[in-house]
Each structure stands twice: as C-alpha cells, then as structure tokens.
Symmetry: D4
Subunit: 247 residues, 8 copies
C-alpha cells in the first residue's frame, strides 16, 4: 500500500473520531516492523517494495538466522537467505524442512506462488568462475516469480560462442551479464540488444583486475548505451533489479 494513502486513512479515522489523537500518533510512528532485539524486521517492506526482507547471512549466527526465518515464515513471506553456507542450510533444514538450497549460488530459499510473469530474464556469464554470482541472481529471480534462462561461459575471447546465441538473446525481456577479468561482455551485449542490460562485475581475475575494480570500471564506461551496473559480485542485487523491470 502506498504511504500517502496509508497516512490519509489514519487521518480519516481520526477525523471521524474512530481513533484518538494519541493512537493516531502512535500509529503514524509505529509503522509495521518487528523489533527482535538484534534486528528490526521490516514487514512493512512488502508494502513499500513489493517484496519482503531479504537476509544477508554473512556474519550472522545460525541461531539468529533461525529466529529471523521463523518470524518471516509466520508472516507467510517467501524466503531468501543470501551468502548462506551449506552448514547453515543443514542447520535450518531440521526445523524448516521446506527450505531449498542453491549450493553454487550459496542461497537458501522458499518460493510462494507460481510464475507471476511470462517474460524471460536471461543471465549470461563470461566464464565458468562467474557462475556462483549468476546462480545467486537466478534463484532471486525465480523466488520473485520470474522465468529465467541462463547461458554460461560465452566470454568475448571466443565471440562466435556468443553470436551463436543471438536468437536467445533477442528473445529475452531483461538481460543480466555477469563477468570478471576485464568485463567486456557487458559492452558487447549492450551493442546487440534493445533490452535493458544489467551488468554485474565479479571479483574473478588476478593481478590488476583488483578484485573486481577492472570489470566495474569497464561496465561503468560501456560505450554501448542501455547498460547499468550493480555492485561487485552482487548477484542478488542484479536479480532483484531485473525483477523490478520485468514486472
């Protein structure tokens, strides 16, 4: 629900004396989130953003993630737990057997409802080492109700592998390009399609790739228009952004 309408409804109730000044004030102050002590779960986010809170598991204890998962499930939210290792999954699985795990993408998830959208998001990677980031994007997209296709290992060093895929590329509605090293794939795809291209630099590479800075700069400076960039290795962010477009 839109914040302005939410505000107006409370004011209406107040005006018609259905609620007191004090409770209106509290209402306005206490938008719906849940203070769990170590974290403030933002249930309201589903209203504002169209999708509930996603949990970044790095640096969180198993117990904390379990409690958060419990709270999210109580609200019938779909689940996305990113940067989750296998041992966390094994731990959560005991209590929540419905949870699924994409090991390559290091992401635990639970879908709610089927496909919301018939248009396809296509994910391309330049190399095989970029696959984990691509997989994080794929699961994010699927849990958010999108149809996903993937084509991996089509970097520009062997451009015919890529040209071979032109028909698939031309059918996609949104394209995610995942590439490390010099990240040139983003520019090449950007020049071949009329669909928005989301470029994800990865920290794959060595020496002067500087853990992703080289492909990040390449993608930022793409000579093809129609390319936007998300953070290094941020497969989740690319998937989320693609899903917003795909709606």
């Amino acid at each position: 629900m839109n914040s302005a309408r939410y505000l107006k409804r409370i004011l209406d109730k107040l005006h018609s004396k259905k609620i007191s000044v004090n409770s209106a004030f509290r209402e306005l102050k206490n938008l719906p989130y849940e203070n769990m002590g170590f974290v403030r779960l933002d249930h309201h986010r589903a209203f504002r953003k169209g999708f509930g809170e996603v949990v970044y598991c790095e640096n969180k204890t198993h117990k904390h993630v379990k409690k958060i998962t419990e709270a999210l499930l109580k609200h019938k939210n779909p689940i996305l737990l990113t940067r989750a290792n296998k041992s966390l999954y094994d731990f959560l699985k005991k209590t929540f057997p419905a949870l699924k795990y994409n090991e390559a993408g290091r992401i635990i998830y639970l879908k709610k409802g089927g496909l919301k959208n018939k248009k396809t998001v296509l994910i391309l990677t330049a190399g095989t080492s970029d696959i984990p980031v691509a997989e994080e994007a794929r699961t994010t997209l699927e849990v958010m109700g999108n149809k996903v296709k993937t084509i991996y290992d089509v970097g520009v060093a062997g451009i015919h592998r890529l040209l071979d895929k032109l028909p698939e590329i031309s059918k996609a509605n949104v394209i995610i390009v995942v590439a490390g090293m010099e990240g040139a794939l983003g520019s090449v795809i950007g020049g071949l399609t009329d669909k928005p291209v989301i470029a994800v630099p990865t920290s794959v590479g060595y020496g002067s790739s500087f853990k992703g800075i080289a492909p990040l700069l390449t993608m930022m400076n793409s000579c093809s228009p129609g390319v936007a960039v998300v953070n290094i290795d941020n497969g989740f962010g690319a998937g989320y952004f693609a899903s917003l477009i795909n709606k």
Copy 2:
C-alpha cells in the same frame, strides 16, 4: 529487425537462387552502415537497439556534426546531439531550423512522433547543481517518446522536502536519481519505492568527493535493493536505460 532473421532471409534468397553467392557474401559483410570517412554511421542500430545513433559532440568540429546530422535526417531518424554547446546549436540551426536545444542539459534534439508510452519516468536531483545532468536525461527520454516528471533539489539534508513528494514518487514507473556530494539520495529513494531506481552520480562536490567517485561508491553500495548505477554525469545513459525499461 533481429540479426538471426536477417541472416536467414539472405540465405533463403540465396537458396532460391534469387541472389548469387557473391552478392550474399557482400550482403552479409555489408550490414547497413555508412562510412563517412571520419565516422561510420550505424543506421543499422535502429534495428538492433530500437533507436538510431546518438552523437557525442565533445571534440567533434562543427562541420563534422553538421555532416552527421545531415545523414541522420536523410534517414528520418530523430536527433540527439549530446554535450553540445550553444555555439554549435547556433551553427546547426542555420541549416536545420527544426532543431531544438535544451541549454541546461547541453543537448540538441529533434523529436519524431508523439508519446509512445503513458507511463511516467520521474527524475529527482539532490541539489540544484545536479540539474544539468538531469536535463540531459529528460530530453533523451522525451525524444525517445516517454512522459517525464522532474523534482529538483530534494537532497537528504532536508528530508521533509522529499517525504512531501512521496505521492509523486509512488506514481512513477521508473525513477532516475541524480546526486553528487555523497549521493545518499539513491539509497533513500531505493528504500521507499518498488520501482527500478537508476542512480547517476555527478561530479558536483568538492574535496574528497573526487569528481564523482564518492557518490558513485555510495550508489554502488546502496543498502536498498533495486538500485543500479550508470557513469558519472551520464544523464544520457540514465535516460536511455530508463526508456528501455519503460517500454
């Protein structure tokens, strides 16, 4: 037209002996572009990308831009000449009186056809100095047939100015955020909307903003999902990308 279909049609003609091997070969080689000596005009781009070639005027002589404009007009393309100063506009205007100029955005343009899309793209700036970049985005969007709204000078230093605009923000289909200094506006908007947010860092600021690096990093690291980034001061790129989404 899609490249694979284009290829297949030539092969069909060849198979049915409508064209010779040599002319098929020439055809395949000579995809439609125009070699003007100093530049190769990519008329084919309109097929591939849904919009013709855009001319970046910095470092080009008045005469060169005039010749390119001539060639583009011959093909009935809309015109977008970015980073164009007033004196270039005055020069071109004599020969092509239909051209328009957005002086703040330093962009010369000519629309073809009316609105292709009823959904709105909203452009926000953090400060008044970010307006030139925003205006470049605005004209780009309008020439590409989009409806645009702008809200300028709503940076986070006075967040109530921003909250006041929530209803407009919630009505947009795509949002462009233009911000220099620390660029925090991107994250804040990203947290308030369920629409894709395209963030444009600007070189506005001083000291350790390092000509746009500070807001670029801020936007890349946005804690709100749903935000992607284009190059520093790249209003055209943001507009173009937003138009692809808005279609």
Copy 3:
C-alpha cells in the same frame, strides 16, 4: 521546533475539528519550504537545525544568489554565502548594503543578534596558505554567535612556535586545526588538550599531497584520541560543527 511536536499539534487541531482532513494532509505534506523554481529554500531548517539555510555560491549565477538572499532576508534570517568571489559581493552590495564580506575566506555574511556564547572557539593553521579555509570557519562561527580566537602559521616544523601558545590552547572550549601538506598539527594538538579537536585538511601542498588526501589520511589516523575530521578545505563545515558543540 521539534518535528514530533509539530506533528502532534496538527493532529490535535484535526481531532478538535479546527482543521479538515484535507488541510491536515496538506499541512503534513507541505512542511515550510519555498519552491523558487531553481531551488527549494528550506526555511524549516532553522527549526530543525537551529540555523537557516547556508548558500554555496560556486556555480550559481549572480541573479540566483540575489533572489535567494532576498527570500532569506524576508524571513529575517542571518546570511552566510560561502565560496563567494569579490564580484558577487559587489553585485549584491548594491541591493543589500548591509552585507559584509570576508575576502580571505570568500564568504558574504550578515549577523543577526550578538554573542550567544561566552566560550571561545580557537582556530589554528599550520601555514599561511591555510588561512583562507580558517577564515571561512571564523566567519561561520561569528555569524552563528560564537567568540573566536585565531593563531595562524604554527605548524609542527617549528614546534616551539606552537608550545608558546599552550596557554591560549588550554583556554579554548573547542579547537579547529586547519592544515595541508602532511597535516601533522591535528595529532600534536590532539595530544595537548582535553577539548574536542576538529581537523580540516586543506588542498595546500604539492606532489604526493594529492590535493588534500595526504592530510586527510593523517587526520583520520591521528594517534591522539579526541580528533574528528571534516572534508578537505571545508572551513564552513568545521565552523558549523564547532558551533554545534560550543552551544
């Protein structure tokens, strides 16, 4: 006035039917600022921040600054126009003869009311080239009603010049240290006083001082506790922050 109380008062009026739902909604939305087309003047800031809007003049036309000044004077605000050159001052002076100018600090100002505070803010510079930044801080502080002392050119290359000033240093309530080159003065002062030290790196220096990065890093890494840092050359920011402490 505090935002929460402001909100409550409107709700009270609404509850007692003094105002309609629609006008309450408008009120909540339209917190007091003034849309001047090219800029949104934040008159409300004086309530929130205890001091009205400060105008950064770089990149603004003389006419725009004049209009803003007019609007600010109408609300009886004190005036602070930073990064203002002499020609802007001469231009404004014709219409607003009461305006004063600190040429070294490139700042146009108008005080309202006398000293609000008897405690002294002390400004130190390492060299003579750091003085413009220090002067910007000084005028900012004075317009905000503070007592200011300055000691210039006491860098650590001649540490006896500094030790000589220990009594003055020990009398200050807040200390601003302005230094370029290697910026070591911040650490040394931080080790000698029990008052908060605000360090301002300047772009003074050459070669590997990298336009202020060297002193910025020095000050961030100060081995003395009690030192915080503002942006390179940001004399206004240091003065403003010192004034908040001094209250």
Copy 4:
C-alpha cells in the same frame, strides 16, 4: 593540570631556591610517565587530556597487557583495553577479578565513579553488523561517565524505522552514527538534528565498499552540515570524541 601553570610552579620553586637548577631541569624534562621498557605509560595524560591512557591490545602479548593494567590500577585509573579478545579477558580476570568485558565491542573495562553527566549520547547503527563498533563506543562513553542510549538497525533502506525514532533523536545531546555499506545514515541524521553528529564508517559491506572507504567518503562529503568523521571501525575514537563534547 595545565602545562603552562605546571611550568610556572616549577619556576617559582626555583626562584625561591626551594629546588636547585639541576632538579628543576630534571623536573621539566621528566614529566610524569613510566618507562616500562616495552612501553612508556603516560600517567600525565590524565592531566592533559582529562582521561588516562587507553590500551590498544591488538599485537600485544597477554603478559604485556597484564603489566600495563597493573601499572594503571596502581594509579587508580579507570581501565579501557580495546580490541581485546575473550582469551585475553579470561587471562586478566584471574588477577584482576573486578574487570568487566563487553564481548560484542571486544573491550575490557573498569569504571571509576558514577555518571558525571546527565546529558545523553545517542548511538545509531545502520545495520546489525555495525553493532560491534557501536558497542566499543558505548563502553568507552560509559567508562568516561556518560549516559548512553542506543538504537540499532535503522538504516535508510527502511527509512520509516528511523522516522519512528525522531523523538529519541531530538532528545540526545550528541549523536554517533555507525554505518557501513554506503554510509548514507550520517547525512540523513545530520539533516534531522541540531546536535553534533559523529559519523563512524565501518568496514561492513562487500565489493566496492572497499573495507570502509565507500562510507568514509560518503560521510566526509555529507551534504548536511554538522557531521564530522572518525576513522573506519573506530568506535573508541567516536566515543572518546563524543565524551569530550558532552562534558
């Protein structure tokens, strides 16, 4: 005690022949600190800085820290041992059972005396991963005799969680903002309050946050005045600086 007065008293004694030239010379040379071979304990610091020496434990052996603690306790100083792991605490606890430990903030401490100040320092964090840095600041403040409130996990991605806390924010006398990723919380708080805001960038984040550089730049370039910055992850420095202001 102020250094100049200290100097004058020695000169007085010398003039009245209460002490010899040689002992005056020694006195002036030997300001009170304790040479422990591997470290020079600066007992004099309490006079100069209003608080005794704080020990940074990283890279120090358990034995060295024990000896230093012993020396500090002999002078009845309060104790602050930062970056201390649990095993160091367990080791010290055997000899000094009065020592306390804040495990999240990795800081061992011993208070002397009660609250010296009724005004509150408020510590905000953007996320849950910023809490360790915030806890280091909290204990530092409490040992120095300040009243502290904390509000954790109120980053700008869910800005309503923050607006809900406006009343608490408006009651604080000094505010510390701890944030990683893009660090936008500093600017937003800076725009909402008239109290000094101390911003602490944290190394929380990934990809192009570059271990804290991104939020550091964000905070340095804050478009809100009234914000100063301390080093990355430097919770102790923020607490110390806030305590100086709060006095």
Copy 5:
C-alpha cells in the same frame, strides 16, 4: 582456417544445393565448440588463434579439469593447464600418465610435435622470487614449439651481472622480462636491444609495491621504446604473446 573463407565455403555449398538452408543456418550458428555443461570448450580456437584452449585451474575441481583434459586429448590438442598445484597433477597423472609438470611454474603440460621455430625467446628475471612466473612463461613457450633460454636473477641492483649477459641478449629474437619490486629491469633491457621486450610485473615485493602495481606502472612508463606489458604475474600471457611474435 580464416573465418571469412569458412563462411564462403558454406555459402558455396548452399548455392550448389549440396546443403539445405536449414543446415547452412545451423552450420553458421554452431561453430565448433563443445558444451560440457559447466564449460564450453572452444575447439574452434585452434583455427582462429593457432593454438587450442588453455585451462586456468584455479577454482576448478579436480574432476572438472579431468573431464576437460579428456576432451582436449580426444582432439589431439597439446595440453596447457595453468595455476595447477601438485595434488591436481598427481590426480591427473593416474589417468593420463603422459602429462608432465613444471612445479616451479605450477603448470601441467603435454607437447605435440617438436620445435616449430629456430629463433630463441629469452626470459630474464630480476630476482629469484620472480622465477615461478618465468617458468610459467617458459613451459608455455616450449609447448607452443619455441626454443627458450633463461637468465635468472640479473636485476639492476647489480648491473654488471646484466652487462655480462649482453651477448646472449643480443642473440634473442624476443625477450621477456619478469620483475617485481620496482621493475626497472624492463627499461634497462629495452634500452639495450632492438628486439621486442615483453615486460611482466610480479607481485613480489613489499610495502608500497602494492602487489605488483609499482612494477606495472614502471613498465607502462618505460622511457625505452619497444616495451609492452602484460598483467601482473601473467607468465602464461607473456609466453603466449612471445610465441605469436616468434612465429
């Protein structure tokens, strides 16, 4: 075989009805590579680049490398597996006993055919720590059929060691210079020879060598013409490039 001729031959067959349109289309699309699920082996590369696919082993499982090796051997390709540790070699050796291992250069290989070229490539290192990178280059060159000479530990700190080697240097056809620390060897060799010099910066060094950035910059800025640079520690790239020149 050259791509244009390849294309023409297919068109010829089509024209003479030896193949159908559909099979021509498939042929054009499916240039020869092998989709192994986790990787697309580019057998066509030997035609385009004169040498088959080289496998970078870092981050690949033993099993994956084994499968790739199998596929490469089936096509009678020579083998180059870079960044391979001893345990991978021991694993592969069981199945493919013909494989050889250069432990210093961490490279597994299998030559096909003898020397294709009588001209010598000379590899120089500045220090002993640069030898692993040099050895990676050496094996690459030998598997590609080149004659290689090496002179190690002749850095500029003892320039007479280098001058002693002038006759060998003057006999080489291509020279590779491998150097870390400050990388000055590249410039000195560049000034002494009329043969192309390929400079490889290494991550050897400490402090401000920044893992290879210092020698990379040195080599990029060489005051001697005739020097080109490959990535940090990229011995394979230097060897490959030298082999292309040496042909």
Copy 6:
C-alpha cells in the same frame, strides 16, 4: 652493431698495438653520443636499437628542437618529432623544407628509404576520438619502413561493423588496437586473431574512465591471450613496438 663485438674490436686493436691504452679507454668510455649541453643525443642508439633517437617535443623550445633536428639530419637519420604542434612545424619547415607533418597525430617526420617490409600492420580504433593516437602510431610505423592499414570507428557497441572487417583483420601481421572509454575492443580482437595484438588505452571518455585508467585495466585483464599493453595515449610506443615485431 652489437655492443660485445664493438668491445672486442677495440680490444683487438689494442692488443695489436694499433691504439694506445689511453685511447682504448677513451673509446670505451665515449660511446658515440653527442653532448649538446641541454641534451645528450644518442647517435649510438641506431646501432643498439635499429632506429635513431626520437624526440618528444612537449616542453621543449622551438630553438632546442631545431638544434636537435639539425644534428639528427647531419647523421642522415630519419626524423620523428612527437607531440609537435602546428606552430613548431611551421617554424622548422622554414629551415628544413623536406619535413612532413601529420597534424591529427601531431608528429613531424622525414622518411629515409622505402618500404623495408611487405607485411602489414593494421591499426583499429574503437571511436573517432581515438584517431589522433592511431595516427601517431601510423606515422611512426611508416617512417620505420612498414606498410600500414587503418580501420577507424569499429568499437564493440556496433559489433557488426567489426565483423564486416574480419577479412582485413585476418590478413594483418601485427594489430594495434586503440580504444578509450571501456577499451573492450582489445579483448574482442584478441579473441578473433592469431597475430599479436598491441593495445593502446586512450584518455578518451568521461567520468569513471579516469583519463585512461579504465581501458588500461580492461586491456591488462583481457580474457583473450595474445594481447600486450602500452602506456595511455602512447601511439608512438605502439607503433615502435609493432615495427620491432614486424621486422
């Protein structure tokens, strides 16, 4: 002539008493160069490097360049004066009417002798703004006796323009790729050819291309083997290096 042989010949003469010890010593010390006071002309370079001294004109006075040119002509050297503006050319032309000028490439030259080599060096640029750097390379190559072909404005944003040129690309013996912005052209060409590719990053671009750092990193990290890099905008260096290979 090779230095070792040069040394041996002097020793032979000495041994056979054709020259005295002192004159041998002088000979060894005074290898042929010319001390002109403000510069030491290295006539010996032609022996060592196969080509005489090239003069970088930036920061040199017209008079100095004239004197150097005089000295070079006396030795019948070909002439290459790089980074030379039109006014310098007009000045020199009066005295040395045989000099030629490539205005785009800002290079003054005089060829000696015809083509020394039938193999072609191909120069590609990504955009039109990269042409000046390409022209500097072209003249360098031609003066050194090479056959040169150029294909300009074939960046990856319109990859069909590039594929169209595959036959020319496959005929070249050495390829120079000149590209700014994100510099992806180097990787794409590297993947299509079996000839050495010399990549030249240019400072063309804006925002985060950082005056050539972005394409430099892209090229250093090229996922295609067979690519080496020279300094930003260093067309002369690329031409010189290509000529060494082409011999």
Copy 7:
C-alpha cells in the same frame, strides 16, 4: 644552539636572580621568531636546523615576499626563495639588487660566505625535462655552502651514457637522482655506488605516470639498498637533505 642548553642557561640566570620568574617565563615562551601578522618568521630555526627559514613563494603576493626578504636580510641570513617566477624576481631586484636568480630552477637566492665543504654532491637527471627540479636542488646546495656537480640526461634508455660517467659517480660524496617517467635511474645508480642516493621523482611523463606517482613508487621499491626518497618535484628538499648529509 641546542635547545636543552638554551633552556639550562635561562634556568641558571633565574637561579642566580639575574632575571625574574616572569621574564624567565616569557623567555621560555617567546623563543625567537617574528610575528609579521601574515606569517611567523622562524629566526630560531637557524639555531635548531643550522639554516634559516626558506620561503615557498607559490600563492604569496609580491609584497609579502618582499617584507619577508627584508626581515631575513636584517638578520644577515642567506636567502632562498623557491618556486619564484621571473616577475617576482624583477620586482624584488629593484629593492634588493644583490639577489640572484636561477631561472630554470625558479629560485631566487643570496649566498652568505664561501664553500663550507670540499666534498661534492652530484646531481643526475634521467631526461632534459627533469632539469628544473635538479636546478632547484643545485642552488639550494650551493647557497648552503656545498660543491655541486651535475650530469643531465643520462636515463637508463641509453645506459652507455651513464656507464661513461662512472668515474664522476664514484667521486661524489652524496648523489641526487632526479627522474620522471618510470624513475628507474634511482635503482641503477643505487646499485653502482656506496654513497647515499637521494631520489626525487618528477611529474614529467604522461598517461599512467600519474604526475609522479609511478617514479615515486619505483624509487620507494628500489631493489638497491642505499636509496631514500623525497616528495615529487621537491628539488629543494633533496638539496637540503643532501646538504645535511654532506656536512
């Protein structure tokens, strides 16, 4: 005079009642410097540092420099005014006809007394563009009473020019190496001599030399021991440091 002895003498006078407590206090506080309002001239520096204050003229008005010169001459100090342009010299010359000017080194000077030292400081430059920095060092050394030799344009691209100078190099007592571009000369000289080598990186170079960062890093990472570095373009600093060693 040594600071400790200075202190003791005052205490002696006080003890013997030759001076009062108050005047002793003043004396200790007011070490000899001269407050000229815009600058604090440190006459005491000659005691502490063995040489009076040196004036950096960049950003100082002609009038200010004149006043400072006046004050320095009154104390019979030698004069060193660095970064001084010709017009400043012409201005000062009218009042102080004894002043000399080194135009290449942009330094105004006045010697006092003859040679204080028979040992030679040798200054080498890699190229002709490094000469201004070398000349600043030369005049600094000569005014401080040192014997100086210079050898210019002996960079490593033509190493025989350098080897020719070995006898001169071996006679020097201290060596200053001035080099831009890649700065390799420092390492080479460091490997050839047993005297201290002071390396001065210069901002000469283009592209990735980054205004001196490349040679600075080269020199910091010199593989030859016996090399220390001063700031980019800091000829004065190198000369001053060399003079301290030469004493």
Copy 8:
C-alpha cells in the same frame, strides 16, 4: 675498488701482453659473482657498495638460505639475513653456531670487526608496535659497524615524552624515525634537529591507514625539510641508508 680503475688495469695488462684478448674479454665479462643456479651471489658488491650481499629470506627455502650463507661465509663476509623466522634460525644455527638472532627484528646476523664509527645513529619509534621495524634497522646498523641508540614509544600523542628526549636527539648524527598510524613523528623530529632524518612508515594502524600508505604520504609531505623516506616497514633499508650517511 672503483670500476673505472678496475677496467683500466685490465687494459694495461692487455696492452703489455700480460693477458690475451680473449682472457681480457672474459675478465671484463665475468665480474666476480657466483652463479649458484637458483641465485647469482654478488661478491663484487662489497667493492661497489662497501658491504656484501644481504639476503631477504621470505619465500626462500631453508636449504637455499643455508647454501647462500655458506658461500657468504667462505668469502669472510658479515651476514645479514632479513625477514627470517625463528625456525630458519634454529635450522641454520646447527651448521653455523656463530650466527646471532634478533627475534623482534626477525634478522639473523654475524658481525665482522668492531665499531667503525663513533658517531651515533638514533632510532625513534612512535609506538610499541613499530619496534620490530626499528629492531631490523638497529641490527643492520650494528652489523655495519655503527653505534646505535634507541628511544621507543615517543609518538606525538604525548609530545612531552618526546621533548624530554631533546638532549639525546641533539647528540645523534643521523636519526631514523619509525612510525605507523598517521606518521606525524617524522615532521616533528624534522623540525627539531639539524641532522638528516630518515622516515620509515610502518603498516601499523587500522582503517584508513591502508597498511602504511597514510604514514608514507605524511612523511613524503613533511613540512619540515631534512626528511627523506624509505619503503613501508623497510627497517633494513633505513639502517643501510643511515650507515652510508654515518660513514
């Protein structure tokens, strides 16, 4: 022995037919060093540099270091093995019981001969964590025959600890300052003495000290003349350089 004289002597022998051309040539080529396969031991260095080869142990196997030590001892050289851990020392000790170890400085050594110099080198550190680097410098200096004094933990945060040491500082002939964090100690000492100051930045510090870059920049930009810098953590380099000066 000086290289030029060495050369002349060989020529003399040749002229007088005491040696043949061939043996003269060999002699000139084979300056005295020892090719050990994995390393070229530069025995000639003692002639050129006044001190034999120093061995950097990081990345060398125990066996290699043992062989090198053996060779060095055969030539009666003093021994300096830097970056050596305890286990290497224990290993070498068995064969060479005369070797000593400075554990803090991680340096194995063997002195030859007594003090060669009565003048003192003083080593200061800012903190206790800088001591390992200082100890590396100390042993280097002592093995090279210098008298050394050390004063540790006198950083500028407690500047009275430093002032107390002025008499010792004024007695030194050369001063080494070792400091991490912000490295301000170098500038302060530089302002207090007329002796050369060698500054060593250390990687001690956290957050934005960036492993030594912050103090490196501070020291490069020192506002005090008379300060030169060596690499981060390079205690050996500082000691070696100081020894050259002290001779």
